[in-house]
């Protein structure tokens, strides 16, 4: 298995990554217009060079504590069948190279409601990089949790 490139970011105290080819681009903090009555995980809409992008609050999606008002954010833009979507994260990390030998599935003790969103972890030298299951993460409009 050839090494793979992962785009990494932090959400709360989690260090997460998705395959780099799934990421269209990353943006620093953007003005986000809230959409009343939308799904609670939707932070709002942002303007990416004239294109309207829906922002998904990853903290809410991963059931993590809400961000403090005014705390810094960044956007990881991914393309989806429903249009471009921004994963709203706390901070962007580097692009790292991971290989299959470093991968390990999640422990059985991971039993939280959002545990299924984590495919597993890459044992990097200085940290564990959690492999975020992008497809399941994007499927937030259907029944939550399962």
């Amino acid at each position: 298995m050839s090494p793979q490139l992962y785009a990494t970011f932090t959400v709360h105290d989690r260090y997460l990554g998705v395959p780099v080819e799934r990421v269209q681009e990353v943006l620093r903090a953007q003005a986000i217009t809230p959409v009343p009555l939308a799904h609670p995980h939707i932070e709002g809409l942002l303007n990416m060079r004239g294109q309207i992008v829906t922002a998904l609050d990853l903290r809410a999606r991963l059931d993590l504590p809400a961000r403090e008002a005014g705390a810094p954010t960044a956007n990881v833009i991914v393309m989806t069948p429903e249009g471009p979507l921004s994963l709203l994260v706390d901070a962007l990390g580097d692009v790292v190279t991971v290989s299959e030998e470093l991968f390990e599935p999640p422990p059985e003790t991971l039993q939280t409601d959002t545990g299924h969103l984590i495919k597993g972890a890459y044992k990097l030298d200085d940290a564990l990089l959690l492999d975020l299951d992008l497809d399941r993460t994007l499927d937030f409009t259907s029944a939550r949790g399962t």
Partner: protein
């Protein structure tokens, strides 16, 4: 890799060929559309040499080009038609309906083959031998079957070869017309629509960038150079936007070019004589709008021919010309395009419409009786309505007038209808010029700004909190004598209404509903570019889309219809169901509110606002049942609790009037009223009337539960505060109800 390269080569080669074929297709389609119109003109005026020459030229060009491109079947059909046209041009044959029909059929055959070419790259399998034979037979028959319409033309011998009498007027103006065409071609180029669409998108972006710059420079009066540059950018952008919009405009003619043909065929099939007349053919509309109105317009025209225009005998009996006319007129009016479609047929039979509404269960008999003429006509736009007994394959193609109305509504247009029995029907369509960039009002609610499309906007009003009244908790505003239901935007969006000394109210009209939207303020009016929003917001029907505001942030566009639906604003149809219980069409224009006047069992006159009434019912006394202390009746699937008005008022009055609940007969009149989410039936003595009254002039009430008194038909009438009475009643319901046991006993 090698294979891919070769493949590319093939594509490139066929692309060159494709370009030529593509151009041929585009030109031919255009020519054929013109051909239909020309043929009909020729049928009407067989002597028009110009028309004939134009038809001949179209056929000749198509024949020549497809010969060059190797479409032999197409060429053969075009050749047959050209020969026949040659005979006409030379005067050996006269135009007659059979010839016109065969030439029109040729146009259809050519179109079919063109679409084969477009799809498969060849002109198809069908030879149209029958058509070719017909064309040849007609040409050969020369003058034999043609009525001698033009006496000056010598009759032609029955011969295959034209006799060529060569009358002086038979010379063709072809060379002149050809030259004129050349000069037109020099001034015009063909542009792919995709390029124009892309340009429009870019202009949209530019408008947004301009708006952004305008916002940034708004506070920089101290920098005159920057301000001047921004001003310059502003005017250039406006001109460019205007120019690009203009490139996308098409004359309305493209939407109705085929109507004369359709109407002729439809008329023939129905045995009717119908002609289409058009005015304002050059009125221009954005191509997206033209596409959107084509089908609704076609439906209206078919409908007019099918149902409106009478059979010739009927027309003759009515003293009308045998030939019916469907007249279309388009014009620009105040940033909109108005299309008026008028027929001189029999008009819409209102009694038939009423009967049909009854038959379809759309209304009940007593409602139908009280229906005004205007409301009756509006019924034809209701889903599932059709006045033809048999759905013909001509106009009843599964599309009803409701779809016409819905489709027009979708693009911000509207349709109105007026009819005069025996004289005809007029449909008036109002349509916006474009869809991509729309004028909007930017409103503020809390910290957010929202765009309201101006097409929905009627007016802006302000009201102090004291001016906003409630009808049993539902906020309303008196606007020129009518109650306007109010919707608080902040509440609808799940927020809190901010306290203010004065409220801004946007009066909106959408899809039959009119209501006032209470907002925190109006920021600006602006041209906004409607942007697609991804699928993640699908379920949210409060917003029609999004746009980029001047400061670069995203702004949401309110969907006025969705908002009204969400806030349960009544549609006219629903209002009508309520109002039509009582005819007050004479009082319709009077200011004030409608009041339902009734008596208690002692004959005291009372009234409540009609708006509070869900329904009026009469229950046979035998149907009363007892449920504990509450008399009840079965009402549809639910149990309706009854409360007697005399008891209610008696209880409040604390008088010693004890005599009898009801001295009424076997039928008990009941006002059904929705109180805090549940239905309550109020038993009254007699229901008298519905009157309109301006409640401002009420005299203060004399006892609790009475909002005031007024005079109706010369008698003092108490206007009850029914919500208040029933709220109190809730608390000591049992006390008030005990007396009712006698009823069910």
């Amino acid at each position: 890799m090698y294979r891919i390269a070769r493949h590319d080569g093939e594509i490139r080669m066929s692309n060159d060929m494709d370009d030529i074929v593509q151009e041929f297709l585009v030109e031919s389609y255009e020519s054929l559309d013109r051909l239909d119109g020309d043929l009909l003109a020729l049928e009407r005026d067989p002597r028009s040499k110009d028309t004939l020459a134009s038809i001949f030229r179209v056929m000749h060009t198509i024949k020549g080009t497809c010969g060059f491109l190797g479409f032999s079947r197409l060429e053969r059909v075009a050749h047959g038609a050209e020969s026949l046209l040659g005979g006409l041009r030379d005067g050996t044959i006269q135009v007659n309906p059979a010839i016109a029909s065969s030439l029109l059929a040729t146009g259809d055959a050519l179109r079919q083959m063109l679409s084969n070419i477009e799809r498969d790259g060849n002109d198809g399998e069908e030879d149209f031998l029958h058509l070719v034979a017909t064309l040849e037979r007609l040409r050969a028959s020369a003058g034999a079957s043609a009525p001698a319409r033009i006496p000056t033309t010598p009759p032609s011998p029955r011969a295959a070869k034209p006799a060529r009498p060569a009358p002086p007027q038979a010379t063709t103006p072809e060379p002149v017309a050809e030259a004129a065409r050349g000069s037109v071609a020099d001034a015009n180029i063909r542009v792919d629509v995709a390029i124009l669409d892309n340009l429009m998108t870019l202009v949209g972006e530019l408008v947004l960038a301009r708006n952004h710059i305008a916002t940034l420079t708004a506070g920089t009066e101290h920098d005159p150079v920057l301000a001047a540059a921004a001003q310059h950018l502003n005017s250039i952008t406006a001109d460019l936007q205007d120019g690009v919009m203009r490139t996308r405009l098409q004359p309305i003619h493209t939407a109705w070019a085929r109507f004369p043909r359709v109407v002729r065929d439809l008329g023939m099939a129905l045995g009717k004589q119908v002609r289409v007349e058009t005015d304002g053919d050059d009125t221009e509309l954005d191509r997206s709008i033209i596409e959107a109105i084509k089908d609704p317009l076609m439906h209206l025209v078919r409908n007019a021919v099918d149902h409106g225009i009478e059979l010739p005998a009927e027309r003759e009996a009515a003293g009308k010309p045998l030939e019916g006319i469907v007249h279309l007129r388009a014009s620009h009016e105040g940033g909109q395009v108005t299309i008026v479609m008028r027929d001189d047929g029999r008009g819409i039979d209102l009694d038939k419409v009423r009967a049909r509404a009854l038959e379809r269960g759309m209304l009940r008999a007593e409602q139908v009786k009280k229906l005004s003429a205007h409301d009756t006509i509006e019924l034809i736009f209701q889903p599932g309505f059709s006045t033809v007994d048999q759905v013909t394959n001509l106009s009843g193609r599964g599309v009803g007038m409701d779809v016409v109305k819905t489709n027009l509504g979708r693009i911000g247009g509207s349709v109105e209808v007026a009819t005069t029995a025996g004289k005809g029907t007029t449909y008036t369509l109002k349509i916006p010029l474009t869809l991509a960039i729309i004028p909007a009002l930017l409103v503020r609610s809390g910290a957010q700004r929202y765009a309201v499309p101006q097409v929905n906007l009627i007016e802006l009003v302000r009201a102090t909190p004291a001016q906003i009244e409630t009808v049993h908790g539902a906020p309303v505003l008196r606007l020129r004598g009518r109650l306007l239901p109010l919707v608080y935007l902040a509440t609808e969006l799940g927020g809190e209404v901010a306290a203010a000394s004065s409220h801004h109210i946007v009066v909106l009209q959408a899809d039959d509903r009119r209501f006032g939207l209470v907002i925190d303020g109006v920021t600006d009016s602006a041209e906004i570019v409607v942007k697609p929003v991804g699928g993640y917001l699908k379920g949210v029907d409060t917003f029609a889309g999004a746009t980029i505001l001047g400061d670069g942030t995203v702004g949401l566009i309110l969907d006025v219809i969705g908002l009204a639906r969400r806030a349960h604003v009544l549609t006219k149809k629903q209002e009508r169901e309520l109002e039509q219980l009582y005819d007050h069409s004479e009082e319709r224009e009077a200011p004030g509110v409608s009041l339902l006047v009734f008596t208690d069992h002692e004959g005291g006159r009372m009234a409540i606002p009609l708006e509070l009434v869900t329904r009026l019912e009469e229950f046979p006394r035998a149907e009363l049942e007892s449920s504990g202390p509450f008399p009840v009746v079965q009402y549809g699937k639910e149990i309706l609790h009854l409360v007697d008005i005399s008891r209610l008022m008696l209880d409040r009055r604390r008088t010693s009037r004890t005599e009898g609940l009801s001295t009424a007969g076997e039928a008990l009149p009941v006002i059904v009223y929705l109180h805090e989410g549940r239905r309550v039936g109020v038993l009254v003595g007699q229901i008298l009337d519905v009157v309109r009254h301006d409640l401002v002039e009420l005299q203060p009430g004399s006892r609790p539960g009475v909002a005031g008194t007024m005079i109706t038909q010369g008698r003092v009438t108490e206007v009850l505060d029914l919500p208040q009475i029933l709220s109190d009643w809730d608390e000591d319901a049992l006390a008030a109800l005990t007396g009712l046991e006698e009823l069910s006993a």
